[in-house]
Amino acid sequence: MNGEVIVAGIGQTEFSKDSRRSELQLAAEATRAAIADAGLTPADIDGMVTFTIDSNDELSMMRTLGVKELRYWSRTPHGGVGACTTVQHAAIAVASGAADAVLVYRAFNERSGRRFGQPLRQVGPRTLDWYTTFGITTPAQMYSLWFRRYMDEYGATNEDFGRYTVVARRHAATNPNAWFYQRPITLADHQESRWICEPVLRLLDCCQESDGAVALVVARAERARDLPRAAVRIEAAADAHLGGGSVMYNYYHPDLAAFPEAEFLARQLWQRTGLAPDDIDVAMFYENFSPIVFYQLEAFGFCKRGEAKDFIADGNIDLDGSIPVNTNGGLLGEAYIHGLNNILEGVRQVRGTAANQVARVEHVLVAAGQSGLVLGRA
Protein backbone atom coordinates (compact mmCIF):
# COMPACT_ATOMS: atom_id res chain seq x y z
CA MET A 1 0.00 0.00 0.00
CA ASN A 2 3.10 2.23 -0.15
CA GLY A 3 2.34 3.60 3.29
CA GLU A 4 -0.55 5.83 2.30
CA VAL A 5 -3.35 3.86 3.95
CA ILE A 6 -3.93 3.33 7.65
CA VAL A 7 -6.23 1.60 10.05
CA ALA A 8 -7.59 4.69 11.78
CA GLY A 9 -9.95 3.09 14.26
CA ILE A 10 -11.18 -0.21 15.67
CA GLY A 11 -14.31 -1.17 17.58
CA GLN A 12 -16.11 -4.23 18.85
CA THR A 13 -18.91 -5.54 21.00
CA GLU A 14 -18.37 -7.99 23.82
CA PHE A 15 -17.89 -11.59 22.66
CA SER A 16 -20.53 -13.97 23.98
CA LYS A 17 -22.56 -17.10 23.33
CA ASP A 18 -25.87 -15.23 23.28
CA SER A 19 -25.78 -11.53 22.52
CA ARG A 20 -29.56 -11.08 23.09
CA ARG A 21 -29.72 -8.51 20.33
CA SER A 22 -29.96 -8.38 16.56
CA GLU A 23 -26.99 -8.79 14.25
CA LEU A 24 -27.70 -5.30 12.95
CA GLN A 25 -27.46 -3.88 16.44
CA LEU A 26 -24.16 -5.70 16.99
CA ALA A 27 -22.84 -4.28 13.71
CA ALA A 28 -24.01 -0.79 14.64
CA GLU A 29 -22.39 -0.90 18.07
CA ALA A 30 -19.03 -2.15 16.76
CA THR A 31 -18.89 0.21 13.78
CA ARG A 32 -19.94 3.22 15.85
CA ALA A 33 -17.15 2.40 18.29
CA ALA A 34 -14.62 2.12 15.44
CA ILE A 35 -15.73 5.45 13.95
CA ALA A 36 -15.38 7.16 17.33
CA ASP A 37 -12.00 5.48 17.86
CA ALA A 38 -10.88 7.06 14.58
CA GLY A 39 -12.01 10.47 15.76
CA LEU A 40 -14.63 10.56 13.01
CA THR A 41 -18.40 10.75 12.79
CA PRO A 42 -20.70 8.55 10.67
CA ALA A 43 -20.95 11.41 8.17
CA ASP A 44 -17.24 10.92 7.42
CA ILE A 45 -17.77 7.30 6.34
CA ASP A 46 -18.07 6.93 2.57
CA GLY A 47 -17.25 3.26 2.03
CA MET A 48 -18.21 -0.12 3.49
CA VAL A 49 -16.82 -3.64 3.16
CA THR A 50 -18.06 -6.83 4.74
CA PHE A 51 -18.33 -10.55 4.02
CA THR A 52 -20.78 -11.75 1.34
CA ILE A 53 -22.51 -13.80 4.03
CA ASP A 54 -22.90 -10.95 6.54
CA SER A 55 -26.62 -10.38 7.11
CA ASN A 56 -26.33 -6.63 7.58
CA ASP A 57 -26.87 -4.90 4.27
CA GLU A 58 -25.19 -1.59 3.56
CA LEU A 59 -28.35 0.48 3.28
CA SER A 60 -29.58 -0.74 6.64
CA MET A 61 -26.18 0.10 8.06
CA MET A 62 -26.35 3.62 6.58
CA ARG A 63 -29.80 4.21 8.06
CA THR A 64 -28.82 2.76 11.42
CA LEU A 65 -25.54 4.64 11.74
CA GLY A 66 -26.59 7.87 10.07
CA VAL A 67 -24.16 7.58 7.16
CA LYS A 68 -25.22 10.14 4.55
CA GLU A 69 -23.35 9.35 1.37
CA LEU A 70 -21.63 6.10 0.43
CA ARG A 71 -19.27 6.14 -2.55
CA TYR A 72 -17.93 2.60 -2.39
CA TRP A 73 -19.04 -0.80 -1.20
CA SER A 74 -17.70 -4.27 -1.63
CA ARG A 75 -18.07 -7.75 -0.20
CA THR A 76 -15.60 -10.60 0.06
CA PRO A 77 -16.39 -14.28 -0.60
CA HIS A 78 -15.67 -17.56 1.18
CA GLY A 79 -16.03 -16.48 4.80
CA GLY A 80 -12.97 -16.49 7.02
CA VAL A 81 -10.62 -17.06 4.09
CA GLY A 82 -11.40 -13.46 3.20
CA ALA A 83 -10.98 -12.00 6.67
CA CYS A 84 -7.99 -9.94 5.50
CA THR A 85 -9.49 -9.43 2.03
CA THR A 86 -11.97 -7.01 3.58
CA VAL A 87 -9.14 -4.72 4.64
CA GLN A 88 -7.46 -5.14 1.27
CA HIS A 89 -10.63 -3.98 -0.51
CA ALA A 90 -10.94 -1.02 1.85
CA ALA A 91 -7.29 -0.09 1.41
CA ILE A 92 -7.50 -0.26 -2.39
CA ALA A 93 -10.61 1.93 -2.34
CA VAL A 94 -8.84 4.53 -0.21
CA ALA A 95 -5.58 4.36 -2.17
CA SER A 96 -7.44 4.83 -5.46
CA GLY A 97 -9.50 7.74 -4.20
CA ALA A 98 -12.78 5.85 -4.52
CA ALA A 99 -13.42 6.53 -0.84
CA ASP A 100 -11.78 8.41 2.03
CA ALA A 101 -12.91 6.45 5.08
CA VAL A 102 -14.09 2.86 4.68
CA LEU A 103 -15.86 0.92 7.37
CA VAL A 104 -15.01 -2.80 7.54
CA TYR A 105 -17.35 -4.89 9.67
CA ARG A 106 -18.44 -8.40 10.53
CA ALA A 107 -21.33 -9.07 12.89
CA PHE A 108 -23.20 -12.25 13.68
CA ASN A 109 -24.95 -14.38 16.25
CA GLU A 110 -22.99 -17.41 15.20
CA ARG A 111 -23.61 -19.30 18.46
CA SER A 112 -27.17 -18.32 19.36
CA GLY A 113 -28.23 -18.11 15.70
CA ARG A 114 -26.94 -20.07 12.74
CA ARG A 115 -24.05 -22.29 13.88
CA PHE A 116 -21.35 -22.94 11.29
CA GLY A 117 -20.23 -26.18 12.91
CA GLN A 118 -23.51 -27.95 12.22
CA PRO A 119 -23.77 -30.42 9.34
CA LEU A 120 -24.43 -28.94 5.94
CA ARG A 121 -27.65 -29.59 4.13
CA GLN A 122 -27.68 -29.72 0.37
CA VAL A 123 -25.68 -26.66 -0.51
CA GLY A 124 -25.89 -26.41 -4.26
CA PRO A 125 -23.77 -27.29 -7.22
CA ARG A 126 -20.16 -26.51 -7.99
CA THR A 127 -18.91 -26.60 -4.44
CA LEU A 128 -19.42 -28.96 -1.60
CA ASP A 129 -21.80 -31.64 -2.83
CA TRP A 130 -18.83 -33.68 -4.06
CA TYR A 131 -17.99 -34.09 -0.37
CA THR A 132 -21.27 -33.87 1.55
CA THR A 133 -22.69 -36.80 -0.42
CA PHE A 134 -19.94 -39.03 0.93
CA GLY A 135 -20.20 -38.02 4.57
CA ILE A 136 -18.11 -34.85 4.82
CA THR A 137 -20.80 -32.64 6.26
CA THR A 138 -19.04 -30.44 8.81
CA PRO A 139 -16.03 -28.13 8.55
CA ALA A 140 -14.24 -30.35 11.08
CA GLN A 141 -14.53 -33.35 8.75
CA MET A 142 -13.71 -31.32 5.66
CA TYR A 143 -10.46 -30.08 7.18
CA SER A 144 -9.53 -33.32 8.94
CA LEU A 145 -9.31 -35.13 5.62
CA TRP A 146 -6.53 -32.70 4.72
CA PHE A 147 -4.92 -32.42 8.17
CA ARG A 148 -4.51 -36.19 8.40
CA ARG A 149 -2.09 -36.22 5.50
CA TYR A 150 0.08 -33.73 7.39
CA MET A 151 -0.03 -35.91 10.51
CA ASP A 152 0.92 -39.03 8.57
CA GLU A 153 3.69 -37.26 6.69
CA TYR A 154 5.36 -35.61 9.68
CA GLY A 155 4.36 -37.79 12.59
CA ALA A 156 2.34 -34.98 14.16
CA THR A 157 -0.25 -36.11 16.69
CA ASN A 158 -3.37 -34.65 18.23
CA GLU A 159 -1.29 -34.05 21.35
CA ASP A 160 0.99 -31.82 19.25
CA PHE A 161 -2.07 -29.87 18.10
CA GLY A 162 -3.11 -29.59 21.73
CA ARG A 163 0.09 -27.72 22.53
CA TYR A 164 -1.14 -24.90 20.30
CA THR A 165 -4.50 -24.84 22.09
CA VAL A 166 -2.76 -24.60 25.46
CA VAL A 167 -0.87 -21.52 24.23
CA ALA A 168 -4.01 -19.93 22.76
CA ARG A 169 -5.94 -20.49 25.98
CA ARG A 170 -3.05 -19.13 28.05
CA HIS A 171 -3.13 -15.94 25.96
CA ALA A 172 -6.93 -15.75 26.27
CA ALA A 173 -6.69 -16.21 30.03
CA THR A 174 -5.01 -12.82 30.43
CA ASN A 175 -7.12 -11.00 27.80
CA PRO A 176 -10.28 -9.49 29.35
CA ASN A 177 -11.89 -9.37 25.88
CA ALA A 178 -11.62 -13.14 25.53
CA TRP A 179 -14.51 -15.50 26.16
CA PHE A 180 -12.01 -17.79 27.89
CA TYR A 181 -10.58 -14.99 30.04
CA GLN A 182 -9.08 -16.44 33.23
CA ARG A 183 -9.71 -19.98 31.99
CA PRO A 184 -6.40 -21.50 30.85
CA ILE A 185 -6.17 -25.23 30.14
CA THR A 186 -3.53 -27.90 30.48
CA LEU A 187 -2.51 -30.39 27.82
CA ALA A 188 -4.30 -33.02 29.91
CA ASP A 189 -7.53 -30.98 29.68
CA HIS A 190 -7.09 -30.92 25.92
CA GLN A 191 -6.49 -34.65 25.76
CA GLU A 192 -9.61 -35.30 27.83
CA SER A 193 -11.88 -33.25 25.55
CA ARG A 194 -14.08 -35.35 23.31
CA TRP A 195 -13.10 -36.41 19.83
CA ILE A 196 -14.68 -34.48 16.98
CA CYS A 197 -12.82 -36.41 14.29
CA GLU A 198 -10.52 -39.05 15.76
CA PRO A 199 -7.50 -39.08 15.57
CA VAL A 200 -7.26 -35.56 14.15
CA LEU A 201 -9.43 -33.10 16.08
CA ARG A 202 -10.77 -32.93 19.60
CA LEU A 203 -13.30 -30.38 20.80
CA LEU A 204 -10.51 -28.14 22.09
CA ASP A 205 -8.89 -28.04 18.65
CA CYS A 206 -11.95 -26.26 17.26
CA CYS A 207 -12.55 -22.54 17.19
CA GLN A 208 -15.36 -21.17 19.26
CA GLU A 209 -18.84 -20.41 18.09
CA SER A 210 -19.40 -16.79 19.07
CA ASP A 211 -21.87 -13.93 19.03
CA GLY A 212 -20.40 -10.50 18.48
CA ALA A 213 -19.16 -7.89 16.06
CA VAL A 214 -15.91 -6.16 15.19
CA ALA A 215 -15.15 -3.22 12.91
CA LEU A 216 -12.29 -1.16 11.54
CA VAL A 217 -12.03 2.18 9.79
CA VAL A 218 -9.53 2.30 6.93
CA ALA A 219 -8.53 5.82 5.87
CA ARG A 220 -5.91 7.99 4.18
CA ALA A 221 -2.65 8.39 6.02
CA GLU A 222 -3.18 12.18 6.19
CA ARG A 223 -5.90 11.41 8.70
CA ALA A 224 -3.26 10.16 11.10
CA ARG A 225 -2.46 13.70 12.19
CA ASP A 226 -5.98 14.16 13.58
CA LEU A 227 -6.29 10.78 15.20
CA PRO A 228 -6.82 10.42 18.91
CA ARG A 229 -4.67 7.26 18.79
CA ALA A 230 -1.56 6.07 17.01
CA ALA A 231 -2.31 5.20 13.41
CA VAL A 232 -1.45 1.77 12.10
CA ARG A 233 -0.09 1.53 8.60
CA ILE A 234 -1.26 -1.16 6.20
CA GLU A 235 2.17 -2.12 4.86
CA ALA A 236 0.82 -4.81 2.54
CA ALA A 237 -2.45 -6.60 1.85
CA ALA A 238 -2.81 -9.59 -0.44
CA ASP A 239 -5.01 -12.45 -1.50
CA ALA A 240 -3.56 -15.79 -2.56
CA HIS A 241 -5.56 -18.31 -4.53
CA LEU A 242 -4.33 -21.09 -6.78
CA GLY A 243 -6.02 -23.00 -9.58
CA GLY A 244 -7.28 -26.32 -8.31
CA GLY A 245 -7.72 -24.88 -4.84
CA SER A 246 -10.58 -25.21 -2.43
CA VAL A 247 -11.87 -22.97 0.36
CA MET A 248 -8.90 -23.08 2.73
CA TYR A 249 -8.35 -26.81 2.60
CA ASN A 250 -6.27 -28.70 0.08
CA TYR A 251 -7.48 -31.84 -1.70
CA TYR A 252 -6.18 -31.24 -5.21
CA HIS A 253 -2.69 -29.74 -5.04
CA PRO A 254 0.18 -32.22 -5.51
CA ASP A 255 1.47 -31.93 -1.94
CA LEU A 256 -1.26 -32.54 0.63
CA ALA A 257 1.03 -31.99 3.61
CA ALA A 258 1.47 -28.34 2.63
CA PHE A 259 -0.67 -25.22 2.27
CA PRO A 260 0.41 -23.85 -1.13
CA GLU A 261 -1.95 -20.86 -0.99
CA ALA A 262 -0.42 -19.70 2.28
CA GLU A 263 3.04 -20.11 0.72
CA PHE A 264 1.91 -17.92 -2.19
CA LEU A 265 0.53 -15.38 0.29
CA ALA A 266 3.82 -15.35 2.17
CA ARG A 267 5.82 -14.76 -1.01
CA GLN A 268 3.65 -11.76 -1.88
CA LEU A 269 3.76 -10.20 1.58
CA TRP A 270 7.53 -10.65 1.95
CA GLN A 271 8.16 -9.29 -1.53
CA ARG A 272 5.96 -6.21 -1.11
CA THR A 273 7.28 -5.25 2.29
CA GLY A 274 10.88 -6.35 1.91
CA LEU A 275 10.43 -8.04 5.26
CA ALA A 276 11.34 -11.56 6.33
CA PRO A 277 10.00 -13.78 9.13
CA ASP A 278 12.67 -12.43 11.49
CA ASP A 279 11.26 -8.91 11.08
CA ILE A 280 7.78 -9.88 12.31
CA ASP A 281 7.12 -9.25 15.98
CA VAL A 282 3.64 -10.80 16.31
CA ALA A 283 1.82 -13.24 14.00
CA MET A 284 -1.95 -13.56 13.98
CA PHE A 285 -3.07 -16.75 12.22
CA TYR A 286 -6.68 -17.56 11.40
CA GLU A 287 -7.41 -20.87 13.12
CA ASN A 288 -10.75 -22.51 12.58
CA PHE A 289 -8.86 -25.59 13.84
CA SER A 290 -5.52 -25.82 15.59
CA PRO A 291 -3.60 -27.67 12.79
CA ILE A 292 -4.04 -24.74 10.40
CA VAL A 293 -1.59 -22.81 12.58
CA PHE A 294 1.01 -25.51 11.94
CA TYR A 295 0.62 -25.22 8.17
CA GLN A 296 0.83 -21.42 8.31
CA LEU A 297 3.91 -21.31 10.56
CA GLU A 298 5.64 -23.47 7.98
CA ALA A 299 4.26 -21.68 4.91
CA PHE A 300 5.51 -18.32 6.20
CA GLY A 301 8.93 -19.73 6.99
CA PHE A 302 8.87 -19.27 10.75
CA CYS A 303 9.99 -22.89 10.89
CA LYS A 304 10.76 -25.62 8.38
CA ARG A 305 8.24 -28.02 6.90
CA GLY A 306 7.09 -30.58 9.46
CA GLU A 307 8.79 -28.81 12.33
CA ALA A 308 5.88 -26.74 13.66
CA LYS A 309 5.19 -29.27 16.41
CA ASP A 310 8.70 -28.87 17.82
CA PHE A 311 8.67 -25.12 17.22
CA ILE A 312 5.50 -24.77 19.29
CA ALA A 313 6.62 -27.24 21.97
CA ASP A 314 9.84 -25.24 22.39
CA GLY A 315 7.88 -22.11 23.34
CA ASN A 316 8.50 -20.11 20.17
CA ILE A 317 4.89 -18.91 19.82
CA ASP A 318 4.53 -17.87 23.48
CA LEU A 319 4.37 -14.19 24.44
CA ASP A 320 8.10 -14.25 25.19
CA GLY A 321 8.95 -16.58 22.30
CA SER A 322 10.68 -15.85 19.01
CA ILE A 323 7.33 -15.13 17.29
CA PRO A 324 4.34 -14.67 19.59
CA VAL A 325 1.23 -16.06 17.86
CA ASN A 326 -2.43 -15.14 18.42
CA THR A 327 -1.67 -13.01 21.45
CA ASN A 328 -5.40 -12.39 22.08
CA GLY A 329 -6.06 -16.13 22.35
CA GLY A 330 -7.03 -16.36 18.70
CA LEU A 331 -10.28 -17.78 17.43
CA LEU A 332 -10.02 -20.66 19.89
CA GLY A 333 -9.46 -18.51 22.95
CA GLU A 334 -10.79 -15.01 22.33
CA ALA A 335 -13.78 -15.49 20.00
CA TYR A 336 -14.68 -16.50 16.49
CA ILE A 337 -15.75 -13.30 14.76
CA HIS A 338 -14.86 -14.90 11.46
CA GLY A 339 -11.19 -13.98 11.83
CA LEU A 340 -11.70 -10.20 11.85
CA ASN A 341 -11.06 -10.03 15.59
CA ASN A 342 -7.52 -11.25 14.91
CA ILE A 343 -6.95 -8.14 12.75
CA LEU A 344 -8.06 -5.92 15.64
CA GLU A 345 -5.48 -7.61 17.85
CA GLY A 346 -2.84 -6.90 15.23
CA VAL A 347 -3.80 -3.24 15.31
CA ARG A 348 -3.61 -3.18 19.12
CA GLN A 349 -0.18 -4.79 19.10
CA VAL A 350 1.16 -2.09 16.78
CA ARG A 351 -0.50 0.64 18.86
CA GLY A 352 0.92 -0.84 22.03
CA THR A 353 -2.50 -1.27 23.64
CA ALA A 354 -2.99 -5.05 23.61
CA ALA A 355 -3.90 -6.88 26.79
CA ASN A 356 -0.90 -9.14 26.21
CA GLN A 357 1.35 -6.49 24.74
CA VAL A 358 4.56 -7.66 23.14
CA ALA A 359 7.48 -5.25 23.59
CA ARG A 360 8.63 -3.00 20.73
CA VAL A 361 6.25 -4.18 18.01
CA GLU A 362 7.18 -2.83 14.58
CA HIS A 363 5.47 -5.28 12.25
CA VAL A 364 2.54 -7.64 12.69
CA LEU A 365 1.60 -10.37 10.23
CA VAL A 366 -2.12 -11.19 10.04
CA ALA A 367 -2.90 -14.21 7.87
CA ALA A 368 -6.12 -16.03 7.12
CA GLY A 369 -4.61 -18.74 4.97
CA GLN A 370 -5.47 -17.19 1.62
CA SER A 371 -5.58 -13.52 2.60
CA GLY A 372 -3.15 -11.55 4.68
CA LEU A 373 -1.86 -8.21 5.91
CA VAL A 374 1.29 -6.75 7.28
CA LEU A 375 0.57 -3.95 9.75
CA GLY A 376 3.18 -1.54 11.00
CA ARG A 377 3.78 1.80 12.63
CA ALA A 378 2.63 4.82 10.68
Binding site: P119, L120, T133, T137, L145, L256
Partner: protein, 135 residues
Protein backbone atom coordinates in the same frame (compact mmCIF):
# COMPACT_ATOMS: atom_id res chain seq x y z
CA UNK B 1 -33.29 -39.31 9.01
CA UNK B 2 -31.16 -39.94 5.99
CA UNK B 3 -27.43 -40.03 6.59
CA UNK B 4 -26.80 -39.01 3.00
CA UNK B 5 -26.95 -35.54 1.58
CA UNK B 6 -28.17 -36.18 -1.94
CA UNK B 7 -25.89 -35.10 -4.77
CA UNK B 8 -26.91 -31.98 -6.65
CA UNK B 9 -27.26 -32.97 -10.27
CA UNK B 10 -26.50 -29.70 -11.97
CA UNK B 11 -26.08 -29.28 -15.71
CA UNK B 12 -22.29 -29.54 -15.73
CA UNK B 13 -22.30 -32.56 -13.42
CA UNK B 14 -25.15 -34.56 -14.92
CA UNK B 15 -22.97 -36.93 -16.97
CA UNK B 16 -21.24 -38.07 -13.79
CA UNK B 17 -24.40 -39.13 -12.00
CA UNK B 18 -25.91 -40.60 -15.18
CA UNK B 19 -22.75 -42.70 -15.37
CA UNK B 20 -23.13 -43.76 -11.77
CA UNK B 21 -26.71 -44.86 -12.49
CA UNK B 22 -25.21 -47.21 -15.10
CA UNK B 23 -22.48 -48.26 -12.68
CA UNK B 24 -19.80 -46.50 -14.67
CA UNK B 25 -17.25 -44.07 -13.24
CA UNK B 26 -16.90 -41.32 -15.82
CA UNK B 27 -14.21 -38.67 -16.00
CA UNK B 28 -14.61 -35.54 -18.04
CA UNK B 29 -12.04 -35.27 -20.85
CA UNK B 30 -11.28 -32.33 -23.07
CA UNK B 31 -11.67 -33.59 -26.62
CA UNK B 32 -9.30 -30.90 -27.90
CA UNK B 33 -6.26 -31.36 -25.66
CA UNK B 34 -7.13 -34.54 -23.79
CA UNK B 35 -6.81 -33.17 -20.27
CA UNK B 36 -8.94 -34.97 -17.67
CA UNK B 37 -10.78 -32.99 -15.02
CA UNK B 38 -12.74 -33.62 -11.86
CA UNK B 39 -14.75 -32.04 -10.31
CA UNK B 40 -16.38 -31.19 -13.63
CA UNK B 41 -16.09 -27.84 -15.36
CA UNK B 42 -17.79 -26.58 -18.54
CA UNK B 43 -14.53 -25.35 -20.11
CA UNK B 44 -11.05 -26.80 -20.31
CA UNK B 45 -8.76 -24.84 -18.00
CA UNK B 46 -5.77 -25.86 -20.14
CA UNK B 47 -6.87 -25.00 -23.70
CA UNK B 48 -10.20 -23.20 -23.30
CA UNK B 49 -12.21 -25.67 -25.31
CA UNK B 50 -15.89 -26.17 -24.56
CA UNK B 51 -15.83 -29.57 -26.23
CA UNK B 52 -15.58 -32.55 -23.93
CA UNK B 53 -16.68 -36.09 -23.47
CA UNK B 54 -16.71 -38.46 -20.56
CA UNK B 55 -14.39 -41.40 -20.56
CA UNK B 56 -14.90 -44.43 -18.41
CA UNK B 57 -12.26 -44.55 -15.71
CA UNK B 58 -10.25 -47.69 -15.05
CA UNK B 59 -11.69 -47.48 -11.54
CA UNK B 60 -8.28 -48.25 -10.07
CA UNK B 61 -6.61 -45.85 -7.71
CA UNK B 62 -5.00 -45.38 -4.35
CA UNK B 63 -5.96 -43.73 -1.09
CA UNK B 64 -4.19 -40.41 -0.42
CA UNK B 65 -5.82 -39.60 2.91
CA UNK B 66 -8.90 -40.65 4.84
CA UNK B 67 -11.03 -40.10 7.92
CA UNK B 68 -13.75 -41.92 9.76
CA UNK B 69 -16.87 -39.77 9.54
CA UNK B 70 -19.43 -39.99 12.29
CA UNK B 71 -22.67 -38.13 11.80
CA UNK B 72 -22.25 -35.19 14.17
CA UNK B 73 -25.80 -35.24 15.52
CA UNK B 74 -26.79 -38.88 15.08
CA UNK B 75 -24.35 -41.19 16.86
CA UNK B 76 -26.41 -44.23 15.87
CA UNK B 77 -25.85 -43.68 12.16
CA UNK B 78 -23.01 -46.02 11.10
CA UNK B 79 -19.70 -44.24 10.54
CA UNK B 80 -18.41 -43.91 6.99
CA UNK B 81 -14.80 -44.22 5.87
CA UNK B 82 -14.21 -41.15 3.72
CA UNK B 83 -11.25 -41.32 1.36
CA UNK B 84 -9.52 -39.00 -1.05
CA UNK B 85 -8.69 -41.28 -3.97
CA UNK B 86 -6.26 -40.59 -6.77
CA UNK B 87 -7.28 -42.60 -9.80
CA UNK B 88 -4.60 -44.17 -11.99
CA UNK B 89 -5.61 -41.57 -14.60
CA UNK B 90 -4.38 -38.88 -12.20
CA UNK B 91 -7.61 -37.21 -11.13
CA UNK B 92 -8.77 -37.18 -7.53
CA UNK B 93 -12.15 -37.62 -5.97
CA UNK B 94 -13.62 -37.86 -2.51
CA UNK B 95 -15.52 -41.08 -1.94
CA UNK B 96 -16.11 -43.85 0.58
CA UNK B 97 -13.98 -46.92 1.30
CA UNK B 98 -16.15 -50.02 1.71
CA UNK B 99 -15.57 -53.62 2.77
CA UNK B 100 -13.34 -52.43 5.61
CA UNK B 101 -14.17 -52.00 9.31
CA UNK B 102 -15.87 -48.68 10.01
CA UNK B 103 -14.90 -48.50 13.66
CA UNK B 104 -11.12 -48.14 13.63
CA UNK B 105 -9.90 -44.55 13.20
CA UNK B 106 -6.31 -45.78 13.46
CA UNK B 107 -6.39 -48.25 10.58
CA UNK B 108 -3.73 -47.75 7.91
CA UNK B 109 -5.24 -46.96 4.56
CA UNK B 110 -2.70 -44.49 3.15
CA UNK B 111 -1.58 -45.68 -0.28
CA UNK B 112 -4.06 -48.57 -0.21
CA UNK B 113 -4.88 -49.82 -3.70
CA UNK B 114 -8.59 -49.53 -4.39
CA UNK B 115 -11.13 -50.35 -7.11
CA UNK B 116 -14.40 -48.58 -7.77
CA UNK B 117 -17.70 -50.22 -6.95
CA UNK B 118 -21.25 -48.92 -6.80
CA UNK B 119 -23.30 -49.25 -3.63
CA UNK B 120 -26.55 -47.85 -2.38
CA UNK B 121 -26.35 -45.60 0.64
CA UNK B 122 -29.72 -44.63 2.07
CA UNK B 123 -31.30 -45.26 -1.30
CA UNK B 124 -28.73 -43.26 -3.27
CA UNK B 125 -26.39 -45.13 -5.60
CA UNK B 126 -22.85 -43.85 -5.03
CA UNK B 127 -19.46 -44.62 -6.56
CA UNK B 128 -17.36 -46.04 -3.75
CA UNK B 129 -14.06 -47.88 -3.51
CA UNK B 130 -13.09 -51.27 -2.14
CA UNK B 131 -9.57 -52.50 -1.35
CA UNK B 132 -7.89 -54.36 -4.15
CA UNK B 133 -7.23 -57.88 -2.95
CA UNK B 134 -3.69 -58.95 -3.69
CA UNK B 135 -3.22 -61.72 -6.23
Amino acid sequence: MSGTVDPVVARDDRYFWEGVAQRRLLIQRCTQCGVLRHPPAPMCGSCGSLEWDAQQASGRGRVLTWILSHHPNHPDVPARVVVLVELDEGVRLVSNLVDVPNDDPYAEYDDLGVMVDFREHDGVLLPVFAPVVAG
